[in-house]
């Protein structure tokens, strides 16, 4: 261990003498670590976001989605707008499902991207057609005003509950917007309430209206993209699922819809994202390997540059292992510098993109980045270091 500090000093001195070379060599690893950390950050962030969305819906939940369900071809949280194939559900399904005894509530969900017009502003947002139980399902609470109720749904009332962000964007403050009117595709809606901020971009920029009110120009087919079932208790979930399937099989083919428990959905999400993350890490790793080759190249050049020094050190008693350690320390340090720079850069970028995208910087990615960059330094440094260690002392000392 007594060698560690002088070896480190020798490496740092060498870096100081060749600042540009050191920077450019570290740059390869920096870019590698940067891309791996960013990609992991984006992948995990997205996964957590989607997972949280589903978890916030509460337990004892069954989702009915068209087609093969949530199979990884696409999809999003509430609404499942990107699901491929299958049927569109309608009011009749909702009523049949309501008859299942294990079920507490049924929420049909219609969702569409629209331009929401206020007297002075207009913004792109989402219209979400739900019933009064949808607020419970999505954990939406009124910050100002009062949420719509069953009578508004049944009466197809032209009322809406604004998400917090869009209310702020369209009116000077969320509180002011209660009682005002907005226009969606030429229909006027009175704002009954503004929801508390959820930190969920879709919900915060949505206007929730009674699903029956969507029938018309917004939803001429009177269909829904998904239906959510709240089951009375945890133990009843599997029975309710079987019952729901039975009900739907009366009208549709087996392949036209999917009845999924929330837990199944979460495990599917986990599976999909672990594949996506592996692919992202693999892509990022390519740049790490390229960076490692860069380090190896420079270390070979350094060994040649410092052949005479190696000879001098051998003459005064350095063993092959001492020389090996010296050059390994140098390549590891070089790689670690790149790793730290990459990590810092990725951290800054993640903090910035967090404003627009749910990216996360997790401790595991940070530790792994530093660990991997050190390992790359050792791996790609070992060949040049071995060359240095195996030089004949006398040939090295004579080297010009």
């Amino acid at each position: 261990m007594k060698q560690a500090i002088p070896l480190l000093k020798a490496s740092i001195d060498d870096f100081k003498r060749n600042k540009i070379r050191t920077f450019l060599t570290s740059l390869g690893i920096m870019i590698g670590v940067f891309s791996v950390v960013i990609l992991i950050g984006l992948g995990l962030g997205l996964k957590n976001y989607i997972q949280n969305q589903f978890e916030s819906l509460g337990a004892n939940l069954i989702l009915i989605l068209p087609g093969g369900g949530f199979t990884g071809e696409g999809g999003s949280g509430i609404g499942g707008a990107a699901l491929v194939g299958g049927v569109s559900f309608d009011e009749k399904d909702v009523n049949s499902l309501k008859r299942i005894s294990e079920i507490d509530f049924v929420v049909p969900v219609f969702m569409k991207g629209v331009t929401i017009e206020a007297p002075r502003e207009e913004k792109f947002g989402y219209v979400m057609g739900i019933n009064e139980d949808g607020f419970k399902l999505m954990n939406v609470k009124a910050q100002f005003g009062k949420l719509f109720d069953n009578s508004d749904v049944q009466a197809s009332a032209k009322v809406g509950v604004m998400g917090n962000t869009i209310a702020k964007d369209l009116f000077s403050s969320p509180a002011d917007s209660v009682g005002k009117t907005v226009r969606l595709e030429n229909q006027r809606f009175k704002i009954l309430a503004v929801a508390e901020k959820k930190g969920d971009r879709e919900a915060d920029s949505a206007i929730f209206i009674p699903y029956k009110t969507t029938y018309g120009s917004l939803n001429p087919d009177k269909t829904f993209w998904s239906i959510y079932l709240g089951v009375k208790s945890d133990e009843l979930v599997s029975t309710a699922k079987v019952e729901a399937e039975k009900v739907l099989l009366d009208r549709y083919d087996k392949d036209d819809f999917a009845v999924t428990e929330q837990s199944e959905l979460l495990s599917t999400i986990n599976q999909i994202f672990s594949i996506i993350n592996s692919v992202l890490i693999a892509i990022g790793s390519i740049s790490l390997i390229v960076g490692g080759v860069g380090i190896m190249n420079i270390m070979y050049a350094t060994v040649t540059d410092r052949t005479r020094e190696i000879g001098i050190r051998r003459a005064i008693g350095a063993t092959r292992q001492d020389i090996l350690f010296q050059f390994l320390a140098e390549s590891t340090l070089l790689s670690l510098i790149g790793g730290v720079l990459g990590l810092v850069a990725a951290g800054i970028i993640i903090i910035i993109i967090r404003q627009f995208f749910p990216a996360t910087l997790n401790l595991f990615a940070a530790i792994a980045a530093l660990g991997i960059s050190s390992a790359i330094g050792v791996f790609f440094g070992v060949f040049p270091a071995r060359r240095a260690a195996n030089l004949s002392p006398i040939e090295a000392i004579r080297y010009e």
């Binding site: 002088p6 060498d14 050190r313 051998r314 003459a315 005064i316 350095a318 292992q321 001492d322 006398i394």
Partner: protein, 231 residues
């Protein structure tokens, strides 16, 4: 029991170099014995094999054949690490080109052998390094880098480095070759004094008669062979 009598003995040592298809014999059946405390000059013209001989004596290079007994140990039977240990603690080298490490200060260069010492010396190396610098008049240069001091100072620094581990033998390869005659003389006097005061065995390789004349025993070498006299 040669071990007791001689510090180093070389028997029929041959060193060949292969350059392309031709084989060059740098040392040809060289036999030489060096006793403890001797002050020997190895004298020969350029290309005579004297530097090769010094490198083999100092265990920097291995012979093609022949036997080397170093303080009673047959070098052929030692591992590379054991040989490195001998170079670190028993041998001190002084080169014509000084061979200091340019990005280390004078003091750091002198203390460098300690870095590679596998056993802790029974004296304070840092203090001893300071004593050597004072003794050689380079204490004011302790924090200078080698390229900022004169040739004579660099060679004194190299000698201090060679001595810092209290070696039993100093091997000096043309130590005055890059110095003016006055400074060269000072360096030779210094080495002579070390031999006398510290009882360090000294082997100086030189082609200069004035340097050779200062040594107590002279070994002449020609065409890789030890000869009776320098002709």
């Amino acid at each position: 029991m040669r071990a007791k009598k001689y510090m180093i003995s070389l028997k029929n040592v041959i060193k060949e170099y292969k350059i392309g298809d031709t084989t060059l014999k740098a040392l040809d059946s060289t036999t030489l014995e060096i006793k403890h405390g001797e002050f020997i000059g190895i004298i020969g013209s350029s290309g005579s094999g004297k530097s090769t001989l010094m490198h083999i004596i100092g265990l920097l290079d291995k012979p093609t054949s022949g036997e080397i007994i170093f303080e009673g140990r047959n070098i052929a039977k030692l591992t590379d690490d054991e040989i490195s240990k001998i170079r670190n603690s028993v041998v001190g080298f002084v080169f014509q080109q000084f061979n200091l490490i340019n990005n280390l200060t004078v003091a750091e260069n002198i203390r460098l052998p300690l870095l590679y010492s596998k056993t802790k010396p029974d004296y304070d190396i840092a203090n001893y390094a300071n004593d050597l610098m004072r003794m050689f008049g380079i204490d004011k240069r302790a924090n200078f880098y080698p390229n900022k001091i004169s040739g004579g100072e660099q060679q004194r620094c190299a000698i201090a480095r060679a001595l810092v581990m209290k070696p039993k033998i100093i091997l000096a390869d043309e130590p005055t070759g890059n110095l003016d005659s006055k400074t060269g003389n000072e360096i030779i006097e210094l080495i002579k004094k070390l031999n006398k005061d510290l009882n360090v065995t000294v082997v100086i390789v030189t082609h200069e008669k004035s340097v050779a004349d200062k040594t107590r025993r002279r070994v002449y070498i020609k065409d890789g062979r030890v000869v009776d006299k320098y002709i």
